[in-house]
Symmetry: none
Subunit: 257 residues, 2 copies
């Protein structure tokens, strides 16, 4: 299933397109104009069809920002008239495809698919769906994580949180960003949900895979996923002891199944 947003004021085009996308089971959202990038993030879109004419003068800057913030979002421009220079500029900015109007909805759909297919290929090469880290196996296809074949019995939110962390293994994620991407909207000040779910995850992880510590707290910042064999002792040893020749990039091992 594909989540698509359309920014255009051409109501005929939008409705015809949405009829078609509905038939093939896509989720489509229609927007009147530019909306804050954070909201776009929250919508968890796969692709965006946009008519730059409705974006106003700042259209290009806006699109550039979007493409920068959401490198995984497929962006298809669909507009009336355009010059070669405009098209070239747009494509260089980060737009994935450019269709001229009038255009057939079916072609737009095919182009969206082509753009997303390309992206999936690129991603699937880097992240073959099951992520393996430490004793853990996070399987997006089952909405579950496993240790030695046994399910951790995660709820939906727990799983999404773990998946997000595991995908960005090694880097510190701030609470706001986590909340934004898992819950889908901005975190209210003082919300402790993330912390609570981190605890639940840690409990289940500890229960099914003792001997490993997966989620590390970064005080005042957020959390970092990094499987470490917490071999019982000598865990918090910043520098007193040994050089701990951390092999540079500690690669969360990703195994192609």
């Amino acid at each position: 299933m594909i989540r698509l947003a359309v920014i255009d004021d051409d109501s005929g085009f939008v409705t015809v397109l949405s009829k078609r996308t509905e038939v093939i089971g896509w989720q489509q959202r229609s927007l009147a104009g530019a909306i804050p990038p954070e909201e776009l993030v929250a919508m968890k879109l796969n692709a965006l069809v946009v008519n730059p004419a409705v974006l106003g003068d700042e259209g290009w800057a806006y699109l550039e920002r979007i493409c920068g913030i959401l490198p995984d979002l497929g962006v298809i421009v669909c507009t009336e008239r355009s010059t070669v220079a405009q098209r070239v500029r747009g494509l260089r900015l980060g737009v994935d495809d450019w269709v001229g109007k009038p255009c057939h909805p079916e072609e737009v759909i095919a182009r969206v698919e082509a753009v997303l297919r390309r992206r999936r290929r690129a991603r699937s090469k880097l992240e073959p769906t099951p992520i393996v880290a430490g004793d853990l196996e996070v399987r997006g296809d089952r909405f579950q994580a496993f240790v030695g074949g046994r399910s951790l019995d995660l709820t939906r939110r727990e799983f999404e949180l773990l998946q997000l962390l595991a995908e960005s293994a090694g880097q510190v994620l701030e609470r706001d960003a986590i909340y934004q991407r898992v819950w889908g909207y901005a975190m209210a000040h003082g919300d402790r949900s993330v912390d609570v779910f981190i605890r639940k995850l840690r409990q289940k992880l500890e229960k099914c895979s003792p001997g490993w510590s997966y989620i590390h707290t970064h005080f005042g910042v957020g959390y970092r996923f990094d499987p470490e064999p917490s071999g019982g002792r000598a865990e918090k040893d910043p520098l007193a002891g040994l050089p701990v020749a951390e092999p540079d990039r500690d690669d969360t091992r990703i195994s192609a199944a």
Copy 2:
């Protein structure tokens, strides 16, 4: 550098395109018609621009086979007339983009780039270029600085301060400016917070990377980040001597053992 092949009998288009690609440093190969897929594989192409008109009746089957064998190859169709149905079919088959002729070579190039962008962006996303200075490595994705792989164990504020300094290495930053950018609001008169954090940073830097002096005081002005091998004793502030017209950043490479 991009390796591109063009299958078209429109010699004018091909030569104009090849002139342009040559300028920007791409390797272009022109083919008269369909060639065995194995040969295409051997050419290690990044992208293929093809006019299906020269492929004959088996054109679609050929393209489908190509797309199947070489999922990493970007395929751009460039043809005279086409119907919506043809374009949709082509895009569904695995073609990445479709341009109508006549078309400007610059647009073709921009579209090839757009098609190939995903892969390399996904790759570059994994290496968000940490700042390297002296023995030090400042990694924004971890909110930490490292020396030889060992963390300095910086707090959030310490890290943000160090990051700011390291980003603007070489130039003197005034306290007001530092406070403004790290704390986010104007510094109250007489606030010593910056000084205190500079001290904390110097302590941790000295502990983890002796032999280097990173942060220099400019009396009455502010601080300047500039890694210098403080060769043991003689460090009576060499700035009396010369403005240190350092050519660039001499990045002592950090190699994790």
